[in-house]
């Protein structure tokens, strides 16, 4: 494994894990050697929540962990923060092993670099909105001036300015999770961990808060690890999605890649539920260009649904241009129509 750590010279990787295992059972918290792990795996008394996970999470991306209930998503998230001690394997933050830090070092990292948003909000019932948001700063020992500067800023950022003196029980669920978000952002962390943050909310509020995350991310560029069991949410937010099943990674990739090429039936069953025209971009369905100049062109990163009107109203195929303005292919109305039709069929079915 030493050599794998050495490979981590890619500076854009923020957080990664190598050969990460988590076993529940009558074992020591951490195995020092691989042979001990093997032995435990054969003991018959183990429950393997994570098996041999390897991930690289890039700086500034929203990294979505997706899977059915019990697939080990929360366990993975907690192993990455060491809220749960991994049984075996390494977690590396900026290339430095998190797994070998002592309690003091871990506390410092958590105080300054990490923050978490919880499924049931975990707001302290006795603190006001403002006090809840300022809590991480207080705990880390920031001075009052800084707290007084940051807290209103964060409150405004999540759109709760008028409510800073309310208590959590005086807020709706959506508002409570906004407080949770603001609190997580207050310490200006580099890493944000979110464990099914919107699962406890109803669908409309959930969409609204997803929009909020997208908006915040475009401004703040945090590295987010986002757990969800809602594939639509994963597709909407994720830069990278990792799909888990029974403690194993089944597929990793950009949403578009996964939607376009689900690796097996398990992934396929998730993909079946999404409207592909919202995920797949023109570049992917373009056929080689037959002419060199088109009256109408579209960006190859534009999603199909966005260009549907344009393509339908044009006479003949539409050109697809890449970032440099170069024509890379063409699409015609029939292809678009076919994709739209299958999308709406799925929507009817689901």
């Amino acid at each position: 494994m030493k050599k794998e750590i050495g490979q981590l010279s890619d500076s854009s990787v923020k957080l990664s894990c190598r050969n990460l295992w988590k076993l529940y059972g009558p074992f020591p918290e951490r195995f020092a050697q691989e042979s001990q792990l093997r032995q435990a795996l054969n003991s018959g008394r183990e429950f393997t929540a994570l098996r041999d996970i390897n991930l690289d999470i890039r700086h500034g991306e929203i990294f979505v962990v997706m899977g059915l209930s019990g697939s080990g998503k929360s366990t993975l998230l907690r192993c990455l923060t060491r809220l749960v001690e991994p049984s075996f394997g390494e977690v590396l933050l900026d290339g430095a092993p998190l797994t070998s830090l002592d309690a003091q070092g871990l506390m410092n990292i958590r105080r300054h670099k990490m923050a978490m948003v919880f499924q049931n909000f975990a707001l302290l019932p006795h603190l006001t909105v403002a006090e809840n948001i300022g809590l991480p700063l207080k705990i880390r020992g920031s001075d009052t001036a800084e707290i007084n500067r940051v807290v209103p800023e964060m409150t405004a950022l999540v759109g709760l300015s008028g409510m800073s003196q309310r208590l959590p029980h005086q807020l709706s669920g959506g508002q409570q999770q906004r407080v949770g978000l603001a609190r997580a952002l207050a310490g200006d962390p580099e890493l944000l961990f979110l464990d099914e943050p919107f699962s406890a909310l109803d669908p409309l509020i959930r969409r609204e808060l997803q929009g909020e995350v997208i908006r915040l991310q475009s401004r703040l560029k945090k590295t987010m690890i986002f757990v969800t069991h809602d594939f639509n949410e994963a597709v909407r937010l994720g830069d990278t999605i990792v799909i888990m099943k029974d403690g194993k990674v089944v597929q990793t990739g950009a949403p578009e890649d996964i939607v376009a090429n689900p690796i097996d039936d398990y992934v396929g069953s998730f993909v079946a539920g999404v409207d592909q025209t919202r995920v797949i971009s023109c570049g992917r369905i373009a056929i080689p260009a037959k002419s060199s100049a088109y009256a109408v062109t579209v960006d190859d990163r534009a999603k199909i649904v966005e260009v549907a009107d344009l393509v339908a109203n044009s006479n003949g195929p539409v050109g697809v241009v890449d970032q440099s303005g170069h024509v890379s292919g063409e699409i015609d109305a029939t292809t678009v129509l076919r994709m739209l039709a299958s999308g709406s069929r799925e929507r009817l079915a689901s």
């Binding site: 929360s74 907690r78 506390m107 105080r111 049931n120 207080k138 705990i139």
Partner: protein, 663 residues
């Protein structure tokens, strides 16, 4: 009760049942042939009490200079509090002494009413005003303030120590199961009189010993509530604490404890009530205060005075309890009290102003005597009148209960050879709850046996069992009725809540007034004290029966009584058993108090040891009571757990949400 495991008849077919019957027969045989197995020979008695006394005396001789020094220090706040509230103070000033009067009654009453208004609005203010008026008009103010002073000094100590023990129990689960939890059990079940004796020896006669005994008695609920509340905080909150980088100390003091403040306040309220209870009891043995007033009046058969002082205890208990409940219901109690300073300043200022004015206007200092009144013999006359005119009826009732319930139980328990009683109890415990509980029963009963306390233990059981039977017979019908009607249910709930806050001693007063001293008066007092948990548990359990089951019953055409009989009561049964369990424990606690009116049980042993200043004897008897209590409690818990496993009934009362593990 004995039908618990036998319900489906399965046990009869099991082999262990046959073995148990065989053992029982052998025991009966032995008891007829070996005299020592029938009556425990006094020569075999273990001198445990004497040994303890000697050890304690040795201890006292060598360390009492430390403990007495501690007593001197601890005494200061107590002197200050009773000086401020009741006695006034003398402060040496140069060659002269300045006499400071106690705080003005008008000031204190004003502050109390203000506190009521702030926490509970107009209604609580009215209650507090009525309470103060009673205390003032009936001349109970001074006794009440003495009592309050002790409460005010003991509560902070009990609360802080309880909090610390609770936190420790939360942080060290192993230590908790092996040391703290059993320790708390014993602290709560050993009658306070028993450890009053060693504290008296160590800390000297005086209020300090009473105070220490009080703290020991009142601390466990706070510790339990704290530990339970901490254990039940959501996992996410604990993860949050870790993720924002809290140290262990920050996690406890800044995250967990504040977030469970409402539960802690409930614990605080319990602690206050327990403290009051104990302060009353302690005041009977010379600390002075309302309890002493009542006891003296009872001994002189001065019914009016006894009743007036007793009612003053009730008044204080209700006032303290309602105030505590109201504070616990404030939205942000801590903040409300911290941030709005006028909440404190206004009443304190008022008290000072009134006290200063009192120097000028005497009536503000001492409540004018002319305004006082007393029931003036009316009550005494009334009781005498009842005693004269209804003597026959009451005597008939007394004789009836004595001869058809109490005496049979008494005769059975006191004349059966010990080996049979002990053996049968152990076998029963084994059949209901398994081997470990059988061991515990042998230990508890054996402890009483070898210490020569068997007869007294049997008398104790006889009183408790009789009282529990009567309380069950009266309590369950009341609860069934109360559960049927919303209004009645609410009223009964409040009544039970208030009754439970009353110091146990209060229940003795009417019983003794009507039936003089003796087993029957004791029985009545115990029943009155022990009936509340039965009513409460039964009522709550009946109400918690799922609505769809009731509807199913209705759709089958059940009448109201059939509904009770076939649906509600069977489902509520395990919880009702828990209520009966509580009742027995309440009864055991009450037995010590009834010893004051001359029953011959373990309580009397404790009480006599107290007057004889024989600490070992008192502790042994107290431990005997505690072990019996703990055994009965575990037996019921196990029986109920078995029942619930069997029927998968979950009524929401015996059920505690298991804190989910960190995922």
């Amino acid at each position: 009760m004995d039908s618990i495991p036998l319900r489906d008849g399965g046990l009869f077919r099991e082999r262990r049942f046959g073995v148990a019957v065989a053992i029982a027969l052998v025991l009966v045989l032995i008891s007829t042939m070996v005299p020592a197995a029938a009556v425990y020979p006094p020569a075999w008695k273990l001198p445990l009490g004497n040994m303890l006394t000697t050890a304690l005396e040795f201890l006292v001789e060598h360390i009492s200079f430390i403990t007495r020094a501690i007593a001197q220090v601890v005494q200061a706040p107590l002197v200050l509090a009773s000086g401020l509230l009741a006695n006034g103070m003398e402060i040496p000033f140069g060659n002269t002494r300045i006499e400071l009067p106690p705080l003005s009654w008008a000031g204190i009453a004003g502050a109390v009413i203000w506190a009521g208004y702030y926490a509970g609005g107009f209604r609580l203010a009215l209650l507090q005003a009525l309470g103060c008026a009673y205390l003032l008009l009936f001349g109970q103010w001074n006794g009440a303030m003495l009592t309050l002073a002790s409460v005010a000094v003991c509560v902070p100590v009990a609360v802080i120590s309880g909090l610390l023990v609770g936190v420790l129990a939360h942080l060290r689960p192993k230590l908790n199961t092996w040391l703290l939890a059993p320790g708390l059990d014993i602290m709560q079940t050993v009658p306070a009189f028993a450890y009053l004796i060693p504290t008296l020896l160590l800390f000297g006669f005086g209020p300090v010993a009473a105070m220490i005994a009080t703290v020991i008695f009142a601390m466990p609920p706070m510790a339990r509530v704290t530990c339970l509340a901490l254990n039940q905080t959501p996992v996410e909150i604990r993860e949050l604490a870790k993720m924002i980088g809290c140290t262990e100390r920050q996690t406890i003091w800044r995250i967990l404890l504040p977030s469970v403040l409402p539960s802690l306040l409930v614990g605080l309220n319990q602690t206050v009530m327990m403290t009051l209870n104990m302060v009353i009891v302690a005041s009977m043995i010379g600390a002075g205060g309302l309890g002493f007033d009542v006891l003296r009046a009872l001994r002189q058969l001065d019914i009016d005075r006894g009743f007036e002082a007793g009612a003053a205890i009730v008044a204080i208990a209700v006032m303290l309890d309602r105030q505590g409940v109201a504070i616990a219901h404030l939205a942000r109690p801590a903040e409300a009290l911290r941030s709005r300073r006028w909440v404190w300043i206004a009443p304190i200022g008022f008290i000072i102003a009134m006290t200063l004015l009192g120097a000028e206007f005497g009536w503000l200092q001492n409540f004018p005597r002319e305004l006082r009144f007393s029931t003036g013999g009316v009550l005494g006359d009334a009781v005498r009148w009842i005693n004269v005119n209804y003597f026959d009826t009451m005597e008939a009732l007394r004789v009836f209960v004595l001869s058809y319930l109490m005496n049979p139980i008494k005769i059975y328990l006191t004349t059966t050879p010990w080996i049979i009683t002990l053996g049968f109890v152990a076998i029963g415990a084994y059949l209901i709850a398994g081997f470990r509980l059988a061991l515990l029963s042998v230990f508890a009963f054996g402890f009483c046996l070898v210490d020569g306390l068997w007869d007294k233990a049997m008398i104790t059981l006889y009183l408790c069992l009789s009282a529990t039977v009567v309380a069950t017979l009266i309590g369950i019908p009341i609860a069934i009725l109360a559960a049927r009607f919303d209004g009645l249910y609410r009223a009964t709930t409040v009544a039970v809540e208030v009754l439970q806050t009353l110091p146990s001693f209060v229940y003795l007063i009417p019983a003794v007034m009507l039936f003089r001293v003796g087993d029957f008066a004791a029985l009545l007092a115990i029943v009155a004290f022990a009936i509340t948990p039965i009513i409460k548990f039964t009522m709550t359990a009946l109400r918690a029966v799922p609505a769809d089951l009731i509807e199913a019953g209705r759709s089958m055409g059940c009448s109201k009584s059939q509904l009770d009989r076939y649906i509600l009561l069977p489902i509520a049964f395990p919880t009702i058993l828990l209520g009966i369990n509580q009742a027995i424990l309440f009864a055991l606690a009450m037995v010590v108090i009834t010893a004051l009116v001359g029953t011959r049980d373990l309580g009397q042993e404790v009480y006599m040891a107290l007057t004889a200043a024989d600490p070992g004897r008192g502790i042994v008897a107290g431990l005997g009571l505690a072990f019996l209590g703990i055994f009965i409690d575990r037996l019921f818990q196990a029986g109920v757990a078995g029942l619930q496993r069997r029927s998968h009934v979950n009524d929401g009362i015996g059920y505690e949400p298991v804190p989910s593990e960190v995922k």
